[in-house]
């Protein structure tokens, strides 16, 4: 503790950070809360001198939107698919990486590359990979496809319209899952690999003495000892998943869907942005608060689960 005489110094040193946090974080949170509960709040109207009644109309409006339900469905679907898939894959890759000696550093770098690459840029590359290249002539299918369809054709499959006009929802979501999983892997691998390397090697020697099969070593020793890291990766994965937005923009552009069905893949965050663009700050705030509540509930459930299954 700093003695009380010198406490002003501590406050002085903290003040730049505190001032910035107050202006750009605390006040906006408070203001979001206020705007969400002002009926029909719009920025321009507020500037025009209009006053608003307190109420929950913004929330009622938001949940009645058909797009909102679509956004909620997309977000939830992406969350519950990508988090388990990417966590499992990351775990397997991390265990494999940890168990090899030669090329470990090189492979580590390769797996970590997506993390330092701009997600919009990656999105555009993915879009190109899944795209139909060339022009569609009348009703006939294009003669040039993206690399994914080339691979499918190479193995004798039928090309799929992944993201272009006329593509199916399932195809769109599949592309998104592949992209998000791939994008989420490096961070998870990094965390899990760090966790693996801090596990005392003697546990594995002890398991070896007892003739423990490899699968059992993974499920009974590695995963429990790694559980704090797994918990961290899963919780942050869900939080990140509910905030999914830029990945969709990366592949589908700002229309958030294939050319003939804009907004089909819109997410919660996308919904908030749309509302802001239409000068519906009240509705945007309400949607943001709903998103916040969902993340809070999911995290609480995660925590409850973790308390039972994580060994610190």
């Amino acid at each position: 503790m700093v003695d009380s005489k010198n406490q002003w110094k501590a406050w002085l040193y903290l003040s730049p950070a505190i001032v910035l946090l107050l202006v750009f974080t605390v006040w906006p949170i408070f203001n979001t809360l206020r705007m969400a509960f002002l009926d029909g709040y719009g920025n321009m109207a507020a500037i025009g001198g209009q006053t608003f009644q307190f109420g929950i109309n913004n929330f009622l409006k938001v949940v009645q939107y058909k797009e909102f339900l679509q956004c909620l469905q997309n977000t939830a679907l992406l969350c519950v698919t990508t988090v388990p898939i990417s966590t499992t894959l990351a775990l397997l890759i991390a265990v494999a990486l940890n168990s090899i000696k030669p090329l470990q550093k090189t492979l580590q770098t390769i797996f970590f590359l997506p993390y330092v690459t701009n997600s919009i840029a990656i999105g555009m590359v993915f879009a190109a990979m899944f795209n139909i290249v060339g022009l569609k002539q009348g009703n006939s299918v294009a003669d040039t496809w993206g690399i994914i369809n080339n691979v499918i054709q190479f193995f004798g499959g039928e090309p799929v319209n992944w993201i272009n006009a006329g593509s199916s929802y399932i195809a769109n979501i599949t592309v998104m899952i592949v992209y998000i999983v791939w994008n989420a892997l490096p961070f998870k691998i990094l965390i899990l690999l760090g966790g693996l390397q801090s596990i005392n090697k003697q546990y594995y020697d002890a398991a070896k003495v007892d003739g423990t099969p490899k699968g059992r070593v993974l499920t009974r020793i590695t995963i429990p000892l790694l559980s704090p890291m797994l918990a961290y990766v899963i919780i942050t994965g869900f939080i990140g998943g509910f905030k999914e937005y830029s990945s969709i923009v990366g592949i589908f552009g700002e229309k958030m869907g294939p050319a003939d069905d804009a907004g089909r893949l819109n997410t919660m965050v996308g919904f908030v942005y749309d509302a802001l663009e239409r000068d519906r700050q009240g509705r945007a705030s309400a949607a943001a608060l709903i998103l916040f509540a969902i993340i809070l509930v999911v995290t609480i459930i995660n925590n409850k689960f973790i308390k039972k299954h994580v060994h610190y």
Binding site: D205, V209, R220, I221, P224
Partner: protein, 367 residues
């Protein structure tokens, strides 16, 4: 199950491929561990004792030589097929499992004809837990146990599948002094009750001496001496063994043999008929010298430390290599502390001479 080590050698390649030298951790180790005995591998750190233990366990592969369990050559056999129990220095108990789950773990790995039913496993685990007296702690996690209790759990886990050989790596080093005394008795008892051939590693000579049937003293990868603890103590083969065993340590002085007598400085202290003239190191056990007015060995008296039953006379001598000459005597014997010097009589069977160059023991006949 006897364990035979034949020309066992372990060479670690150098870290630095260009400049570094390879390290010979264990050099040509030959030893037959008799069935059902408790053997202590003893030596300073880096002497290769742990490496030897891990080679017996199969966790490390020998560079050369053979290992036999009974008549089976197990040199190429993997760890899990050797039928050993290993207790690690820091126990390596699985922190997320209860005591019971830890003890059950080795049994759950058994396959084929060895596979046990659930009830059999529980019975075996309970039996092992009772042997080490932790059967009341079955539902605790390792973090909720004391160091001594964790040690017992580790031993129970090693014993539960009834190993042919039990290996303990520094079993007492993580325990406090009192617990150490208690636990070493416990290890002795468990070993006698089960009759399993047991090898343990320690750097603490007292620990090794007190419970082993046989001790193996090692230095820099080479076995120095093998024998019953008392025999090794009474009859060290070289200066290293003499210095390594015994608390307080042996008094070491420089001297010479001339004309059948051992000289410290100018005074002859012992008749050693038939020994060639040579420069020697002289080792005298602290209990091998007693103050006596007519003693042959005179030292400068520092002080007397009384420790109840015993007293320790601390003195110095210009020829001494150890900083002080210590004599352990009964506290009934009074030493005149007003005097500047103290004279000692020397007991011949506590008096050893070693060639100065080879540091090997020079034997002489005690009259």
């Amino acid at each position: 199950m006897k364990v035979v080590l034949e020309n066992l050698t372990k060479i670690f390649p150098s870290r630095d491929k260009k400049a570094g030298k390879e390290v010979v951790a264990v050099n040509n180790f030959n030893f037959e561990i008799p069935d059902g005995q408790l053997v202590g591998l003893l030596g300073p750190s880096g002497c290769g004792k742990s490496t030897t233990l891990y080679m017996i366990s199969g966790l490390q592969k020998p560079t050369g030589g053979k290992i036999y369990f009974g008549d089976d050559d197990v040199t190429e056999l993997s760890t899990e097929n050797r039928g050993i129990g290993l207790v690690f220095q820091n126990y390596a108990l699985y922190p997320h499992m209860t005591v019971q789950q830890n003890i059950l773990f080795p049994l759950q790995n058994l396959k084929g004809k060895d596979k046990l039913s659930k009830q059999e496993m529980l019975d075996r685990a309970l039996e092992a837990a009772k042997l080490v007296q932790i059967d009341e702690l079955m539902d605790r996690k390792p973090s909720e146990l004391s160091g001594g209790q964790q040690q017992r759990v580790a031993i129970a886990r090693a014993l539960v599948k009834m190993p042919r050989v039990l290996l303990l790596d520094e079993p007492l080093s993580n325990l406090d002094a009192r617990l150490r005394l208690q636990t070493r008795e416990e290890i002795r008892r468990i070993q006698k009750e089960t009759g399993i051939t047991t090898v343990f590693v320690t750097h603490d000579q007292e620990e090794a001496m007190s419970i082993s049937d046989v001790i193996v003293v090692m230095k820099a990868g080479v076995v120095q001496q093998i024998g019953k603890p008392q025999e090794v103590y009474d009859d060290p083969k070289n200066l290293f063994v003499a210095k390594f065993l015994g608390t307080p340590p042996i008094n070491v002085l420089e001297g010479k043999v001339a004309g059948g007598k051992v000289y410290i400085g100018d005074s002859a202290v012992m008749d050693v008929n038939g020994v060639e003239d040579q420069e020697v190191y002289i080792g005298i056990r602290p209990e091998g010298i007693e103050p006596n007015e007519n003693g042959v060995f005179e030292c400068k008296l520092n002080n007397v430390e009384v420790m109840g039953r015993d007293a320790s006379v601390v003195s110095t001598h210009p020829s001494a290599i150890s900083t002080v000459i210590r004599a352990i005597i009964s506290s009934d014997i009074r030493v005149d502390t007003s005097k500047e010097t103290v004279k000692y009589n020397i007991k011949p069977h506590k008096f050893f001479i070693f060639n100065k160059e080879t540091e090997e023991r020079v034997y002489f006949e005690v009259k």
